[in-house]
Subunit: 262 residues, 2 copies
DNA sequence: ATGGCAGATATTGTATGCAGTTGCGAAAAA
DNA sequence: TTTTTCGCAACTGCATACAATATCTGCCAT
């Protein structure tokens, strides 16, 4: 097993009460270095799932996964349950958990919810955005356009994620931001699946500019509507791309079929 | 410790490989009887926190809690982390987790987000509600009015919860419903704190009737707005009640101070 | 040949043990 | 009496051990 796993850190399990210092030389993103192992596992697994390294339908064998990540089953199980709550993993009682597969219906629902949340966030942000916040959004937009011009796909998507997140943060509402973050993981997974097929870069950039203009003008209603439309467009692109390269997906799609994309 | 714990089920730990059948005679809600222990722990703990049995600020000692619930620390830890993701519990590295305390700001944010989600849900529901679904909502409203007339507070709140949930479910959007459920836990906690002080029963009933009318008329925009306003009213009532019976709560409120209510 | 059953194996669910860290209290110094 | 420091007890975090359950394989009966 352990098929699509790219980085089998520490393949052999440490045996007993032995030095665990410097065990994972270079793991996660940044400051979560000294956070509990289960947090690192969550980050790592989420990245692997979202980026398709663990394809939808893949069974997650606790023992193998734990060994692959260089930790024991205890923190791994905690991570798996957290990701299940986030909707990235499906828990099956007394059976291996597995990466949830995305069918067209779920993707539509996901983006519909996301659009609603971002609309709400934009409306609030239009009222609460500080001049500094607005400047930051404009900087991010500049970054996006620069990366787009340079054709750097990964950086483009990262910046895109960042500006959406920044808008939501500008709403100054923690619970809203958390709900948004929870959905975003799954949406990113869907977007990643469709990523190679459809880009829509130019339209997306233009829409962003309009949204920023509405925010700057404090036009709450318009900012909300524009952002919701923007997300909806993305959803259409993603579902169309998936429909083109995958089974009709009226059925739950069962397994890794969705991954069979050029 | 274990202060406010009311029901120390199975006080003594089972020793080893012994019959665990019929261990917890009547635990949770319903069909989660045969689900993993951590699921039961989540349900149990959530109920205890929401209903104030575990006051905000209370330290959650894993060993004691596990013993109190009749299980070991492993599934308990999983439950605690799940509830932390839900925002009911605050995790402190290498220290006991504790029940998160609610300050006025957070309560406002919470209900603001909730209002936004329910508005979205109502708009979708107005478009998708089936005749059967509408009938069900009307039945729930009848139940609420009956319980109100009978003065049965608990039943009233349960039915109230049910109709809000039902509206959200009528939107036919799973991710949205999940996000809503996650926020609802904390909101219920806040409402419970203020419960004894302010009721607002009549206004609430009238608002419900208007919402149902808008849904029946398929007036998506109006249904959304009414529901959002309804939630906002509840938020005002809750925060006003808390402000009256608790410290100004400009500061994080530190501990169980909020519980000091008549 | 095919269907179903029995043993064997693999994998989850739960409990327990052990090491590291934190906080608290007691004792000593000012 | 007040303050500082050291030591101890408690608790968390992680790993592992053990029990329960599901899956798989091959054999036997039809």
């Amino acid at each position: 097993m352990l098929g699509p796993m790219s980085d089998p850190v520490i393949p052999s399990q440490r045996k007993r009460g032995r030095p665990r210092k410097a065990a994972l030389p270079n793991v996660g993103t940044a400051a979560l270095r000294r956070a509990g192992l289960h947090v690192r596992a969550v980050e790592r697994l989420r990245a692997m799932i979202v980026q398709g390294e663990l394809a939808p339908g893949t069974a997650l064998i606790e023992g193998d996964l734990a060994q692959g990540l260089g930790l024991s089953r205890t923190p791994l199980r905690e991570a798996v349950k957290l990701l299940a709550q986030e909707g990235l993993i499906e828990l099956r009682a007394n059976r291996s958990a597995c990466v949830r597969s995305l069918d067209a219906r779920e993707i539509l629902e996901l983006f519909e919810a996301l659009a609603g949340l971002e609309r709400l966030a934009a409306e609030l942000a239009a009222r609460r955005l500080t001049p500094a916040g607005l400047r930051r959004l404009e900087e991010l937009q500049t970054t996006i356009e620069r990366e787009h011009a340079a054709g750097r796909r990964e950086a483009y998507y990262a910046a895109n994620r960042a500006i959406h997140r920044a808008i939501v943060e500008s709403a100054e509402n923690r619970p809203l931001a958390q709900a948004h973050a929870a959905l975003l993981g799954r949406a990113e997974q869907a977007r990643f699946l469709a990523l190679r097929l459809a880009h829509r870069w130019e339209e997306s950039l233009a829409e962003h500019r309009e949204i920023l203009a509405a925010l700057a003008a404090r036009d709450s209603e318009r900012a909300g509507r524009l952002l919701a439309d923007h997300v909806a467009h993305t959803a259409h692109t993603v579902t169309r791309a998936l429909a083109a390269g995958a089974p009709p997906s009226g059925t739950p799609t069962g397994d890794a079929a969705l991954m069979s994309m050029p």
